[in-house]
Every structure is written in C-alpha cells, then in structure tokens.
C-alpha cells in the first residue's frame, strides 16, 4: 500500500507496530505529546519529564516512550517533507489504524506548524558552505618600489565563509584592482538579475 506521507512508498513496519502503541494513550495526551515532538523538531528541545508524565497513565515503559516519540517524529517530519496536507494525512493515518480522535488531534497540530516545520527543514538541508559576511576597504596606492607614482585605487575584500564541515569557518582576503572589480560587479549583477527572474 502506497502512502503519500511516506513518499509514495510502503509504510515502514515499525511505524505500523508503534501506531498501536500510540492508540493506548488518550487523545488529549496524544495531542500534548504531539506538541512536545513538534517543539523538538523545530529545534526547541523536548522536555522528557513532561513526556514521561503524559505517558505515565498508560504505563509506558522507557522503550514504549522512545517508540512513540520516534513514530510521531517520523510521521510529522515525513508529512512535512512530502508536503502532505492535513486531510490526506488524516485519511492515511486512519487507514493505518490510528483512532479518529487521535488522528484529528495530530493533524490539527500538524497543520498549525506545517509551514514552520518546512522552514526548519529547509534551513537544515545540506549546504556545502555559506557566506557569512563581506567587508571591504578601498585603498589608494601612491607609489611602490617599482614605480614612483602609481596613483591607483585598490579594493580589499574580506570574505568570511562557513566551510563544508559544520563548525569550520574560513577567511579569504582578496585585493582587487579597480578594473577587475568593475568586471566582478557587472557579472554579479547579471547573476542577481537571473536569480530575481527565477523568483
């Protein structure tokens, strides 16, 4: 059976198994659990004590708690990844056997945070290197050891980049003559125009 929230593939077996675990807690607690998992996915950290309290009534063991957090994490992030709307998610989860009240709670939380989730996922996508900052300075060379009167402007550019490895940063310092800088600026403006056209 192909499910949209799994990317048009079969639902993994462990998800099927853990959905029955999820059905054991009440739908109100499940909605609160969803809220915690969404906080974790958005990078705000998860409060494990609250999660433990929520699942204490159903007498979940630590393995069950981890499993329910994992399955909610998977459903929510996978649905955001494949851009599934709330109704399709709701019908697919009901097909998998999750009770209707749980499904409505889950889909409501999902729809509230749908775009926030997608933004967060877009941010954490693979990026090979980022430009952090650019600083520049214009100098004027008066003379040098080779020529007594040089009288030319010179631009110093300092580029701070975040390297390919997360946490590494590089600084590149380049000095550019006026003509070369004009060429660079023209080319970058063309690239910018092309980028704006795509938007």
């Amino acid at each position: 059976m192909r499910f949209r929230f799994c990317g048009d593939l079969d639902c993994p077996d462990w998800v099927l198994a853990e959905i029955s675990t999820l059905a054991k807690i009440s739908s109100v607690k499940m909605k609160l659990l969803c809220a915690q998992v969404l906080k974790d996915l958005l990078g705000e950290g998860i409060d494990y004590d609250k999660v433990a309290k929520l699942t204490a009534d159903a007498k979940f063991e630590s393995g069950d708690i981890k499993a329910s957090v994992a399955v909610l994490s998977f459903i929510l992030s996978s649905a955001a990844k494949h851009d599934v709307d709330g109704e399709s998610l709701s019908s697919e989860l009901q097909q998998l056997g999750l009770p209707k009240e749980h499904v409505t709670g889950l889909c409501k939380s999902y729809e509230d945070k749908h775009s926030a989730l997608q933004d967060k996922l877009r941010e954490t996508s693979l990026r090979l290197g980022r430009l952090n900052s650019v600083s520049w300075r214009v100098d004027y060379t008066l003379s040098s050891s080779d020529l007594r009167e040089v009288n030319e402007p010179l631009i110093q550019l300092k580029l701070q980049t975040q390297g390919a490895e997360p946490g590494s940063s590089e600084t590149t310092v380049v000095s550019v003559s006026a003509d070369k800088f004009r060429v660079l600026l023209a080319e970058l403006k063309q690239a910018q125009a092309m980028m704006n056209a795509l938007q």
Binding site: S125, L126, L128, A164, E165, E187, A191, M194, L198
Partner: protein
C-alpha cells in the same frame, strides 16, 4: 600450527629465564593488565628497581609475554603447540606450566579485547543529499545541468567523518542499480547454501 617467534622476541623473553618463577608469574599478570588497560612506566620502574635490572629489560620482557599471549589467542593454538613453542624459549617446567595455565584461563578474554582493539572500517551513519540544477554560468546562459550533491557521514568507533560527493542523475541511477544487484546477490541459492552451512 606452530607459533614462530623472531630472534628479538626470543632475546626479550630470555631475560625471563634469569629470574624466579614467581617473578615470571608477576610479569604474566602485568602483561594481562597491560592488555586490558594499557601499560604504565611506573610499574616497569618499580619492577626494575626490585630486580636491579634496567627498565627496558623489564618492558621488553612484559611486551614479549604480551606478544606470546596475543598470538596464541589469535590463532587459537592448542595446548601441545603452545607448550612446544614455549619449550623453545628454554624456561623451566614450572614456568611452562604457569604460562600454559595463564593462556588457557585468559584466552577468551584476550580474544574479546583484541576484537575491540582492531579498528574496523568506517561504517555508514547517514547520507544527506540535495538536488541542484545549474541554470547558468558566467560563460553560458540557459543551461540545465542537474546534479545530486551528497554528504556521506561515516563513523569508525568514536570518530566520525564526512565526505562530500557529487553525481549526475545517470550515474546515480547506475549506483542504485548496482547496489540493488548487490542486495539481490544475498538471495541467490549459492549464498543461501553457504549461510546455511555457517549456521
């Protein structure tokens, strides 16, 4: 099979001939400790002071014992072969019996330690990917060049590394095809026959 010791190692172990059997026992225990937790120069120094010999001789003696124990455990040498090998070193009967006892009692332990010491190849941890399409470059506008950029996360024990790889869609399809063929090879009758016999 016979364990062959090089001349250097025989020289190192010949030092043990000159000392009491109780000292040899002591050295045996030091050798086992150094296998379990690594050696410390202090132990060698204190032993050297007690025996009035230079520290290097003590160290070499212990290292020779460690080598003997490791090689015998590695090849699962039988009693007879072990005794033959030790006979070559010319120890007294008591020392030989002690070494054999040491080997037999700790063979399993030594093998477990050695399994952990050998660093395995890096194993797969995670793969992040992105699909980029190059639309234009400085030299040529109106292009369409799709590329898949991936970052492969590997871990070997405690250190993790990552490699950035890039491929075009055709090569990616070829990679997928080759890997699926590899998975299918597990299901062939030839593999199944061998797996049945190992179990």
């Amino acid at each position: 099979m016979m364990l062959v010791l090089s001349q250097d190692q025989k020289d190192h172990l010949s030092f043990l001939q000159t000392v009491d059997p109780s000292v040899v026992e002591e050295f045996g225990h030091i050798a086992l400790e150094s296998l379990r937790r690594g050696s410390s120069p202090k132990i060698y120094e204190s032993a050297a002071k007690k025996l009035f010999v230079p520290m290097e001789m003590v160290q070499h003696g212990v290292e020779g014992l460690v080598f003997l124990l490791m090689e015998s455990s590695k090849h699962m040498i039988s009693e007879v072969n072990f005794l033959d090998c030790v006979l070559v070193l010319g120890f007294s009967e008591e020392v030989n019996r002690f070494l054999l006892k040491l080997y037999q009692e700790h063979q399993g332990q030594i093998r477990t330690i050695m399994k952990q010491l050998i660093c395995s190849q890096p194993t797969y941890q995670n793969l992040e990917w992105r699909l980029d399409v190059q639309l234009a470059s400085r030299l040529l506008r109106q292009q369409i060049v799709p590329t898949v950029v991936t970052r492969l996360f590997l871990t070997s024990g405690t250190d993790s590394s990552s490699r950035v790889l890039q491929t075009d869609p055709r090569t990616l399809l070829h990679i997928i095809y080759t890997l699926e063929a590899a998975l299918a090879a597990v299901k062939t009758s030839h593999t199944r026959r061998i797996l049945r016999n190992i179990k």
